[in-house]
Amino acid sequence: MTGSSLINRLIESLRCLPSVGPKSAQRMAYHLLEHNRQGASQLAHDLLEAIEQIGNCEQCRTLSEKTVCDICNNRGRDQSVICVVESPADVQVIEQVAGYRGVYFVLMGHLSPLDGVGPIELGLDILAKKLDAGIITELILATNPTVEGEATAYYIAEMASTRGIKATRIAHGVPIGGELEYVNSTTLSHAFNGRVEL
């Protein structure tokens, strides 16, 4: 360990990254300084720029450097169907696999009264305005299958139902390739409730 306070500060800063403990932070810092100063400089530059320029799409709240993100701005997408998700990462996942052609609304979390997260913190007032505008015909609720995710889906479904808008919930259940014996009972009960006729 050197006594250099700047190095120690860098190591400490790197620990804000997920999955980075003191050991790996130290490895990263030495790697960048010893072998890849150019990469480090690019990283510093990109980080600063991203922090300054990336905000939230004013339509769907996902992370975006534009006022309105590319998905919301895409005329080829069905603006009358909104898929509600908890995080921008969920948008990425659905975009990659599902062949979904509607737009999104990103909550940036879920209802969690014990953490002080209520409807306003999730931007549900913005969603309510969208629903009131009369363009939306269907909400697809793709929040996580946790109790908070379920409560959030229920709350938004009620918002839709009072306005006569259809709300659907994505199915949750047994993972493909999984064995029933190893699935916990909550998952299994979801799978049972969401069963479909063959």
Partner: protein
């Protein structure tokens, strides 16, 4: 007589707890570091416990998917001080199928427990009432009465029990036909139906007795009971209101 080192060993064993498969519910969990969870546990014999469940968010974790509110669990933990380490979790029975507005009521119960119970204070009776309340909640029957019953026991078990059987000024038994003003931290005082607005909650004698007997049925009684509980609980909670009430669409909380 115990010798010195032996006493020290015993003390160490007491302060460093090991609890094995104890009946418990998760009141709340939140992410901790990358893969772990911090859980707020309501256990039957040890009361409210804070614990860390290491690696609980990893797909292969034995805790994966189990550490959610509203499912009866058997939990093992060890450690000392305010933060225990969860070592094992089992689900002794099928998880409750709790949905929709039931979840909101459930959050309300959990918020009350986390706000009003001190850590490490055992509350066995309350634990059993909580368990029963959840079981009735999922049947969607007598929802309001069930919530009021829970609140009644919660207040009683945390030392703020309501006075429901006598007038605190005269000492006379509560009369079904009389009208009372319930002063928080004191109790009910009989009033004239014509008297001015009082600094308390107006409530019928019949409602007071129905809360006591757990026989709230009529709409007026339910409404008055809710007003009373709200006022008393708000008094205990201080300035920070309950967030779960914001989510209630059925006005039952």
């Amino acid at each position: 007589m115990m010798s010195g080192p032996c006493t020290a060993l015993v003390t160490a064993m007491i302060s460093s707890h090991k609890v094995n498969l104890e009946l418990a519910y998760i009141l709340h969990s939140r992410p901790y570091r990358d893969t772990s969870l911090l859980v707020d546990i309501f256990s039957r014999t040890h009361g409210r416990i804070g614990a860390v469940a290491k690696g609980a968010k990893q797909a292969k974790s034995k805790f994966n998917g189990l550490l959610q509110p509203f499912g009866l669990l058997m939990l093992s933990w060890s450690g000392k001080g305010d933060l225990m380490t969860l070592t094992d979790a089992e689900q002794p029975q099928a998880a409750l199928d709790i949905n929709g507005s039931q979840l909101i009521s459930g959050f309300y119960l959990n918020e009350l427990l986390t706000r009003l119970l001190q850590r490490h204070d055992p509350h066995q009776i309350l634990f059993d009432i909580y368990h029963e309340t959840l079981c009735i909640l999922v049947k969607d029957e007598h929802l309001e009465a069930v919530l009021r019953r829970f609140e009644f026991y919660l207040l009683q078990e945390t030392g703020y029990g309501l006075v429901l059987d006598h007038d605190v000024e005269t000492g006379e038994a509560i009369q079904t036909e009389a009208c009372y003003c319930y002063y928080i931290e004191r109790g009910p005082v009989k009033i004239d139906k014509t008297s001015d607005q009082q600094q308390g909650v107006l409530i019928n004698g019949q409602t007071l007795l129905a809360i006591k007997d757990g026989s709230l049925v009529e709409a007026l009684h339910l409404k008055q009971a809710k007003q009373l509980m709200r006022a008393v609980i708000a008094h205990q909670l201080g300035d920070k209101p309950l967030r779960s009430r914001e989510l209630a669409m059925q006005k039952v909380l």
